[in-house]
Symmetry: C3
Subunit: 352 residues, 3 copies
């Protein structure tokens, strides 16, 4: 008998309240760490310089938020979005315990809501909550997302259903305590002198000056994250139906520009951060292909105190990613990524 296992779930397969304990799990090896930390070109020494990370009270190098997000999110792809048409929104993504090299992350997802499309009979939106934990059971990341999923059979009737409320998942950024004895100032030269909490002004927009061209390496990087979705890595599939697949190109997995934008922002706003607190909402507003050059900007929206941490402050930002598309003789700017991002930033008064 010829068996072709159906992979992933279609819209009609999801049941509100259903819990997926995703398969496999993932241990963060130094190989994964190097590939993503360096690929994203993060410039925060907490992820690059062991001496610095340990001085700050961490056990080792910490995975930058882009890698933590990718490690957790990707594990949910097979069960949740293998048959997705589009990833619509990330919501309320909150970071918890730091992720170190050697940590093993396992992930669960709860189905929060199912909403068939009112216009198209072949699709609908699934609302999920995904949580990643390390080997000690500590939460490293929790997020919600809305994803547009294909139906397997257009005729199948799917009812709109939802939980009364999204389950409450307690998750706060875990940061080592501030200790004068750590003599942080001795290492202040390892970061920029003008990216402390005091340096940011609400209303400023940083046009991050560097760009990064995407190569076919996206396929190997996506495989490293166990992202099974074929639209990133199966050119033959795309060649069978170019019209369905955006003109015949493999589309780059959104986690790649997500990671790149975070990295590109780092020298201007991120290198004196001790972690990202929360991504309130985020979405991929445009596709990315091989050959595109990704750019980013950060708008400072708000500054406020960090409860219980006089050495830190919270900076609320909007991180936008864009690229340029050739139209005749001119280049048009196209937005590709939007993220409302709260960052925990050091105060110069305490660290420099």
């Amino acid at each position: 008998m010829l068996i072709r296992k159906k992979r992933g779930n279609f819209l009609e397969d999801f049941r509100v309240g259903q819990l997926f304990r995703h398969k496999v799990g993932k241990t963060a090896t130094e190989g994964l760490f190097n590939a993503f930390t360096e690929f994203g070109m993060t410039t925060n020494p907490l992820s690059k310089n062991l001496r610095y990370a340990q001085r700050y009270g961490f056990k080792g190098l910490i995975a930058p938020p882009g890698l933590v997000m990718n490690m957790v999110f990707s594990q949910s792809v097979e069960d949740i979005s293998e048959n997705a048409r589009a990833n619509l929104e990330y919501r309320d993504m909150r970071f918890g315990a730091p992720v170190y090299i050697g940590d093993t992350i396992e992930v669960e997802t709860t189905i929060v809501g199912v909403q068939p499309s009112s216009k198209e009979p072949d699709r609908g939106v699934v609302h999920v909550q995904t949580t990643g934990r390390n080997q000690d059971g500590a939460i490293v990341l929790t997020l919600q997302r809305k994803v547009q999923i294909w139906k397997d059979n257009q005729e199948t009737k799917v009812e709109a259903t939802a939980l009364n409320e999204v389950p409450a998942i307690p998750c706060d950024l875990q940061i080592p305590a501030y200790q004068e004895s750590r003599k942080y100032r001795e290492l202040a030269h390892l970061t920029n002198p003008d990216t402390y909490f005091e340096d940011f002004t609400v209303g400023d927009v940083f046009a991050h000056s560097r760009g990064r061209t995407v190569t076919t390496a996206h396929m190997e990087l996506t495989a490293m994250l166990d992202n099974t979705s074929q639209v990133h890595s199966n050119q033959y599939l795309v060649d069978q139906n170019p019209a369905k697949y955006i003109g015949g190109q493999l589309i780059v997995y959104g986690g790649i520009p997500f990671n790149l934008c975070l990295g590109l922002s780092c020298p201007d706003v991120g290198d004196n951060s001790v972690g990202d607190v929360c991504y309130i909402t985020g979405r991929h507003t445009g596709p990315v292909f091989v050959g595109d050059t990704v750019f980013a900007s950060t708008e400072i929206k708000d500054k406020r105190e960090y409860p219980g941490r006089p050495d830190l402050g919270i900076v609320s930002t909007i991180l936008r990613g864009h690229k340029f598309v050739k139209k005749g003789e001119t280049w048009e700017k196209m937005e590709i990524f939007y993220l409302e991002r709260d960052m925990a930033v050091k105060r110069r008064s305490h660290y420099a």
Copy 2:
């Protein structure tokens, strides 16, 4: 004096019974591990999830069979097949001790037979036996292969010679003992529920649904394996004589599709395996180039008991790899890889 060292051996250089202790050796770093384990997209948690691997009694993550094969095989390339025209067959490839991150593998090869071509005066076949051992002297892999090698000088007469018998190399798959106290069932959600020994039916053929497009990353991956053969990494060489080199393209090292096919089979047949026992025979039946998308299928040929291990069973399979080639308007399926593969698979009765 201008010196251009000749690299590798030609047909007339081999002597039956000759022992090569291959140079350098290789320590499995986390970088190598990440690159190949993730590249192959294996979904077996023994190679991905440290918590799972340790629960199963392994010291750490274990290298998947495709990486073990590559680490051992590649070390023999310079001495044995640097001047090969084609790798004809792998035979009797048997796995032994697990390979962990940090293990150092060194490799030896014995020349078993030399057979000049009866038709072409410029080539012949060399039959070898290659064995890889770790730092404790334990065998991790032993294999035989037949490879078609160029002569350096067509005039040189080469006699057909062979050992009376292939040396016996004892090598059995080393698996931690089954222990009820390990509570395997607690982790059963990390693998598929329908890939246990009991789930396979002789005669079934799994068309593995995913494909994987090969990019220029094959060159970096091949370098990571210390494979010195120039037809994979020297475009200039190929440009000098396109007719000799399959129309002017670099050919992808066979270990790459070997690794990909194993990985592609994993979700359907491999994620509840504790190891591959033996590859009875294998060959690369078609070339792979950048841009090709690799697919695979597994045919279930036989099931039998695993001697001494009532918790496991042996599933004999044929793993086939294929790609599609454009002929005018249609795509033709072309086989690229064939492997008779015996797998040690967990029984649901004991593990789930």
Copy 3:
């Protein structure tokens, strides 16, 4: 307010005697190690085989000189050469303590001299001295370089200034002592039998037989080294002004062919070396682009005793890299790299 931070320094920003303590630092993970050691295809077991490295008295695998150079040099790019037009010369590059996986390297640079161009008003040359230290404060590498830097504003007058002398940085190659009890001969089969000190003849030129085609992987590798220079990774920037950027192509970071040439030389001259002592002078004499195949040759210039080490000798060489460029129907050889390289090589009398 829209802020676009200016990155790097321009000619008029440098002051003789100025000390830069470069930001971030870098811990050598196994991922970085694998990517560069394997990318360069070094065949020295000190960087590949842990058993061998430890037998020789090293704590672990040692980073090959190409990786040490890259780890140190790249950290100086943002402050020194982000706005460079050309990297003119490396000078007096001396190796010190070995670099192991897990070491953290931090880097400082002193401005030694500033020289405006006598012909072009928009550029000048900066002479610097860069030193990298590990977490114990031991120097791993020190070097000088001359780099041609753009002015930000052509009108700004820049005076020629220089320190009276280049600061003396004591830095000697640190090699474990020779100990008969280590039984080196037992491992002699892991390297070539004809690359010991006694085997080299002054005047010989080795045309290293292998070549290596450069792929788009150069971008990911350059990012792994935190090299921020946009001409390597921002195709959009290049597309805005192809004439300025060598006909519209991204240029490969020089550290890539530097690393490749060292690796290509290894089987013929490097695998019985215990380290590179000094690069007297080096320069990139031609550009490298994706698709180029890199070749190398080594000329033996001198042999002499290694002071205090009767088991070793110093071999002075010139390492040259080249590629071929199609001109009509013929291929023209173009030199791309030149390096005067002193190597510490084992004597057969003591090791084999």
